[in-house]
Symmetry: D2
Subunit: 365 residues, 4 copies
Amino acid sequence: MDKPTRRIGVLTGGGDCPGLNAVIRAVTKDAIHHGMDVLGIEDGFLGLIEDRIRPLEERDVSNILTTGGTILGSSNKANPANMAVGRDTNGNVVHKDLTEACLITLESHGIDTLVVIGGDGTMTCAAPFVERGIRAVGVPKTIDNDLWGTDMTFGHMTAVEIATEALDRVHTTAASHHRAMVVEVMGRNAGWIALSAGVASGSDVILLPEMPFDIDAVCEHVAQRSTKGKRFTIVCCSEGAYPKGGAQIVERTDPTSPDPIRLGGIAKWVSGQIEDMTGVESRHVVLGHVQRGGTPCAFDRMLATLFGDAAMELILQQKYSRLVAWQGGRITDVPMLEAADKQRLVPPDEPLIAAARSVSTCFGD
Amino acid sequence: MDKPTRRIGVLTGGGDCPGLNAVIRAVTKDAIHHGMDVLGIEDGFLGLIEDRIRPLEERDVSNILTTGGTILGSSNKANPANMAVGRDTNGNVVHKDLTEACLITLESHGIDTLVVIGGDGTMTCAAPFVERGIRAVGVPKTIDNDLWGTDMTFGHMTAVEIATEALDRVHTTAASHHRAMVVEVMGRNAGWIALSAGVASGSDVILLPEMPFDIDAVCEHVAQRSTKGKRFTIVCCSEGAYPKGGAQIVERTDPTSPDPIRLGGIAKWVSGQIEDMTGVESRHVVLGHVQRGGTPCAFDRMLATLFGDAAMELILQQKYSRLVAWQGGRITDVPMLEAADKQRLVPPDEPLIAAARSVSTCFGD
Amino acid sequence: MDKPTRRIGVLTGGGDCPGLNAVIRAVTKDAIHHGMDVLGIEDGFLGLIEDRIRPLEERDVSNILTTGGTILGSSNKANPANMAVGRDTNGNVVHKDLTEACLITLESHGIDTLVVIGGDGTMTCAAPFVERGIRAVGVPKTIDNDLWGTDMTFGHMTAVEIATEALDRVHTTAASHHRAMVVEVMGRNAGWIALSAGVASGSDVILLPEMPFDIDAVCEHVAQRSTKGKRFTIVCCSEGAYPKGGAQIVERTDPTSPDPIRLGGIAKWVSGQIEDMTGVESRHVVLGHVQRGGTPCAFDRMLATLFGDAAMELILQQKYSRLVAWQGGRITDVPMLEAADKQRLVPPDEPLIAAARSVSTCFGD
Amino acid sequence: MDKPTRRIGVLTGGGDCPGLNAVIRAVTKDAIHHGMDVLGIEDGFLGLIEDRIRPLEERDVSNILTTGGTILGSSNKANPANMAVGRDTNGNVVHKDLTEACLITLESHGIDTLVVIGGDGTMTCAAPFVERGIRAVGVPKTIDNDLWGTDMTFGHMTAVEIATEALDRVHTTAASHHRAMVVEVMGRNAGWIALSAGVASGSDVILLPEMPFDIDAVCEHVAQRSTKGKRFTIVCCSEGAYPKGGAQIVERTDPTSPDPIRLGGIAKWVSGQIEDMTGVESRHVVLGHVQRGGTPCAFDRMLATLFGDAAMELILQQKYSRLVAWQGGRITDVPMLEAADKQRLVPPDEPLIAAARSVSTCFGD
């Protein structure tokens, strides 16, 4: 059996997500409690490349449970395997593999085990290290809740709560002013936020990336509501939702895209179509980054603490290359590198969809 | 096979719980969608006894998803089986069984199936009806999350969020003023709210009814924190927590109780003990009813909608005498009357307890 | 002296604003208490034109204090003086004056006094009625707090609280990910929301319509923060802010505008400029309609209740053609029609600007 | 003219209040900006007595705008003029004046001007220093908003918002369960929180220390509501409210008090009386410390920043012995020591009282 872990390195990668600090806190407190040293790696894998490492003591993680963001910093794009730009002997631009630099950093600090907190991109970045024998455990992180292998990730519920509160707010305006209000929430490939917040807010229409919608069906639903005396409609729409026959939005704000929908985002397009086709005045809101910052809700603080504790448990049991997961209402773990390739989309038989249909929600299909 | 359901009667029983209206809304919309009539029974079983029944149309359940309380009203104590006080032929006071009155009401309105939304008390009230062949399905309701057969009930997470926010608020005061702050949350027999809110808020001490505590151990923890430079302590305590050797509090506010703890509640007693034994200034807060009213959080609105939909699904499948439940991350159902007798307490191996210990939380044991 | 008021007509005009229902409730309860009848006019002046009037009883205004929107409905564009499109005898399109229709409605319902709740546009609509001798009092309403004659209007503080919460949330992301975050809040001509929320959130840069900004100065501020080790910047920007030499944005989303800033809004433009000029990664969020819907904060419920009570006080004193106002910390009133023409902009010597500068806030000047 | 200030000492005294950190931040940033040194005095006057002083740099006040409590710590009882217990030559217990110790601390650190942030008690503590020629300016602090000389203090509105949210929550329970709910909010001598939160929440009864109430009148109001079909009542009550003929509560939780009301607090007593006299089921909640901790609302962050800036302005103008104040909607200042003796109570002609009466609120008079 291997020697037990003595010095843990912790890093956070990818986009912001409420609960990152709660994981860092749980890992650090637990590790110190077991007599290990904890080193914080700054700005994800960038800190490994640039040797920016600092010790984490208990006082460093005091009072961070409730704060958003990550005290370690993060970087979205730092994949050591394909990082620095250089030229080969023929003068062509090439991408250099900086994995070696990271390994030197790890060795020089005596880090014998990595705790990698991130989503599929971060797990992809971690793969070369795992493959070269670096001991690592992963903690899943995604606002969108679309990571393979786990039913739930911290941060997601906070995003749902924020989106629901926003939908509640526009609801009263829609009702008073007899409007359609289209609210775009996060979710490029998976519609979990839109589905959950849509059900929680009683949205009349929910549009998901997994279910290309028929804009005529959406407009007909808006019009039918009018005939029943309901002179307003709330549409909750994933940023990655798209009409049948249309192309999914690759880059929502890419100005060079010829697709008019892409110019202003799907919410703006849906809002315009509703106004044109039904005559109902319509407005749109794009919630954006407010969904992924700030203090986590209680649920996410609990889940993040459980995840941090579970990561330490894997380390204590010397079960490496595993990703902490939540399945069937309990903590478990899955192979760390499998999460790098797959996605958990909303399945057609998801009970929330059936429940939403039961209360007359339209999915545009 | 029985005739399918044509007229549903819905009632809500027991204490208040965020999400009751979301269940009523889901059941009503779904039932109307399937061509059934829905009748609302006012104030729980009292409405059956007193024949206070009103039809529920879609407009009655419009805009109630986000509101706390129950549009049908509730009553805590109306058990038809043991309800009215009278005298027998010998002049002794007796309790009359008013089940018959309820059956007449049901028949006169043509109600062929009951949807009973409530906790163990309400399910107990429902038992005589089920036993006499009235078709019924149950939807579990409890702030405390201690209902047998289901891992989670709506309303509980809202209570946890509210308690966590309160704990966050007193945290800054405790730290600034170098105090112990003892916050008493709901939970007479089960400590789920205290455990969850305690972990979510990073409370230093968590006291649960399931784990009688040693007040010396609690005070020692407070004192030890001081020696480490942490001049404050947050204690999150269930209303039903009690010291080892002490008696569990049956009725927290009973003024005739000889037990001094009972007079002011456990939080006040713990706070006083800390001040006396450690010299650390201490204050207590009893959150009380703010935990069970008001708008449900998004999580509870989703769960309540799923539960309402699942109750209707049971009716459509003619699966009566079942209680909707959430187990292993999915909707299922359990025998309705079994929930009347049992309780789901925090087990000693609950992962949240282990996670809390990992971040140095003291349980007073 | 005129006969006292017997039947009050109440209408709400213009955009949504938290607190409208609180005013309607206060006016209705107070009027009924004084033995008057209250009639609710639906959808602003449109309800007068189309004779959509309904009595308001106490039960109609029960439970509306906390709800956003307006139970009477509103319409943004219904100016009776210039409303219906027709053709003159030469076949040219003309706008007809429908004031007469409104007067008939008022007379047929016996409404002897109007309570007009709205902003400058609504007061403009009310002018022809006042000029023809209809007795009216006004209650000022504007999210932007730019109405002439009053220091404060209900709804504004709710918008500030919502914007501040959003700025708090993006703050943690900016800090973790070393970004500039540009948050666009409401305010086309007046920057009160941006100034207040900017100060309340500790924004590093605040951009107001009243102070055209130098984008170079903004970018230099961002860059200077980096040299001081602060690798992030929060920009709070009014939708009507614009760069020096640029034109103020008349219609933010007009797609035919040749001005590139107008295409995506000022926040997007500022965000892009920061990224281009400083190399600091930058993101933008447009808060939009979430700022003007939903439950009012306690401050606004108080202010709206005071305003409704003050409107009734004017009626009882037979002081017509007056607009309720808040000046120097107390309720007063100003001539109703003067509010139609003027605006209250942020003055250069506003103390909040000086206070913001004291904590190093940059206004781009 | 005196030499200008070079080294500022800042202290916070008295109970917790959201916004203290915002004042510390504004003073520190502003002073550093003007080339001054800033020293933080720990735990109020205790830090002067015990020589616990630390320099405040910009990084120390970064990120504290949104946090509750005070980074400097506070102490409630440390009045240097009457502090240490000793014995005189006859052996009698005497209180020693430790003002001299404080003066030595000030001199040894070269502090030439004090910024004293606190309420009337703290200003009383500051008096001997001012009288001996120490240059000082005061910033008013009180949750209760009862400080003489200023219309508004930071922290108060946060308390009102928290109390209002709690009242909103119990409202739905009261309505569903046909109960009276009595919510006790802070305010021993002044009823500003109860009045404001009572109006903001639409409470049916508001009880203030300034207006001793007739319990019969309160119960009659509850009973009358029942006859009008309103089967519930919300009572918002100051902790210092008391019945006519009764004695005001000096120490709410003093267990030796013979007055039964004092044992459990006024809310419990009122709740019991309602239940006994009307038969309406009744519950009470004592909000307590959750009202004075946690993140300040946007309004209070603005006001605290304005106050901190105004304190620095006084220092720059060498206007010492003044207390920053808010009067008639603008910043001003009053003599610092006058605030030590007086209180600002709710006057009988307060417009909020009249507005509350207009919407049928009962004050028990």
